[in-house]
Symmetry: C3
């Protein structure tokens, strides 16, 4: 069972190993993603050209695919990189940003999930549902139904895609289809800073690079990230989302075993 002890231990491994995380991500969040990974103690690299993604993916500790501002050229590169990562045993983390918002996104999310063996997929409930072809209204960014449904959705998706699924929202749910964890960390102001979901997906990559039990890696990433957000919200949340964003980067560099033990809220679900 993953508890705060285990979370702190995987976080510590990230800081020691400084894993290379290869991101093929959207233009809105590249800078924030790189700075967040650096703050945490990982080593980010962004490389998009199909001429080099296979070479980069195979030497990385994890590959992160994010379709936030997708286009056909980058999607092609994502699939090349993903297949090479599969070949080399490098875990692939997938963020189907906006699946359901347009037919092109939905179709692309399904194509990538079909062509590449993904280790973890992270999104909100609507994105995960649309990726596996279940109807789920996507209004704005959040889904917002009861958490019971979200757990079922997560388990279904995990079984269908043979992967670990992390659905984030008010509560986070992470499951491999059999074992499920519920995480109650984080802060609402995260929704006022662009790219906090995307960065979380990349942070899961950093954890999966050092911990081959990907369910544990994903759970540990969600707790660590949520606790860092609470630290930042306490320090700067009242000033507004600009100050919070900066305090959050600081907190990612400072969150450690003490804070995890004090604030981490993870429990096993049904």
């Amino acid at each position: 069972m993953v508890n705060n002890q285990e979370v702190a231990s995987v976080l510590q491994k990230v800081r020691q190993a400084n894993p290379l995380v290869h991101n093929i991500t959207n233009v809105v969040v590249t800078n924030f993603t790189a700075n967040g990974l650096l703050a945490l103690g990982a080593s980010p690299v962004m490389a998009y050209a199909k001429e080099e993604v296979a070479d980069m993916a195979k030497i990385a500790g994890a590959l992160v695919l994010n379709i936030g501002t997708l286009n056909p050229t980058e999607v092609e590169a994502m699939i090349i990189a993903g297949k090479e990562a599969n070949e080399a045993g490098v875990p692939v983390i997938f963020d189907p940003v906006g699946a359901g918002a347009t037919p092109y996104r939905t179709e692309t999310a399904r194509n990538i999930a079909g062509a590449v063996q993904v280790s973890v997929i992270r999104g909100n409930a609507a994105e995960i549902a649309n990726t596996i072809g279940e109807a789920w209204a996507i209004k704005g960014v959040d889904a917002g139904e009861g958490s019971g449904d979200v757990v079922s959705l997560a388990k279904n998706a995990a079984k269908r895609l043979k992967t670990v699924v992390a659905i984030t929202g008010k509560e986070d749910v992470v499951t491999d289809g059999n074992t499920t964890y519920i995480i109650r960390n984080g802060h609402p102001i995260l929704t006022k800073v662009t790219g906090t979901g995307c960065l979380l997906t990349s942070v899961i990559g950093a954890f999966a690079a050092v911990e081959r039990d990907v369910l544990k890696a994903a759970a540990a990433a969600l707790v660590s990230y949520g606790v860092a957000a609470e630290m930042a919200a306490k320090k700067a949340g009242e000033q507004g989302p600009g100050s919070f964003q900066i305090a959050f980067l600081d907190a990612l560099s400072r969150v450690g075993a003490d804070e995890i033990h004090q604030y981490g809220r993870i429990e096993q679900g049904e």
Copy 2:
């Protein structure tokens, strides 16, 4: 007549409606634009692929086109999205960044303004002049002639393009060719942070999404934005442009009726 009361009322509507603003914008400012819109209370989405821009534009509250780092593929997507927005009655806001700086930009600005019915065009005097084919030296980013000329230029452009024109600089001028407002808010340190003009254009989009009198929407956006900048400059301007940028995001989340009534400076021009 648009006064501070009206400005505060439209700002309030933005916060309540949380409008989806679809941006096709440049790579320098995507993150800042998304964070600024989120701070203000709008819901930003960036989508660029011609495979999906029509689907996204038609469900948005406003579409923002910005040619800051243009290329032929994105320009094609802008025109597809713009035409679909026109069809769907979604207001289109256009920022002809750098028109006049290179022939390619000037020509592209004119092509977009010709192919799409724009609701509001925002730029500095040189950009607006070059978009309508008037000679106006563009040196660096600012134009800096007397405001009398700027008012005439704005009116000419409004009549020529059948749109609301916002020319920003020391004083902001906004006109539909008949009714004109002069706004004296803002702060010089805005010119030391990249993308403050681009974000303003997207903020006009958020206001136009909730107020169909686009002249009023644009005027209200200019006042709200300028007042937020003054709040941030007072708080952090002396520390430098880094601190100002963060304080400005905070201020966009906090500016409300009280500050508008106290600091808003809008008057009707001739």
Copy 3:
């Protein structure tokens, strides 16, 4: 000989001339690069389309080429812009980001260095070595051998490429192959913020735009940048990399003759 007096004098010229720096750079660092140049007192422009790069490069004070997220279209634009800059006598500054990490990057770095006459090339030891075809392990981002080797490498590269070479690391080395300077400014937290190397390359561009002795320009840029980093680290380094990044932008706008004289550490090497 370049001393603190000379450094302060070139920095002063940048502030007075407000030079236009044309950047063709990677998507991770565009916003930070633009804000850093603005804070310093330069005027950044990003333009990437092959339809306009020649027109922009020839009116700029310097052209900066950075292959951080390269693709064939942008590399083509870089070479078009570089050749036009050569024609027009505009200095070209080159940052071979990640040369050695993938064959595509290494090959592209060599192609650009071959096709364009570069005034200054800046990178870490591994990037510079790989650009001139010398073996040098690139693990993560840093090279980390003794500084004696780095000086030899820098001189070799300067002679081979007939350019000024700046190798940054714990100590910075800058040389034209004959005269060499060692600069001992900066702070380790710079490695925790993405794009600090890329921004430095663009800052060298701003200095080269106002000082035609490019060795002096590059040395002055390195000292000014390092001193600003020390100012920021003193103010905010303990809070973490988020706060440091903001304080660094502030410091770039404040660093002046007083701080250069007090903290600048430049000496002539062998």
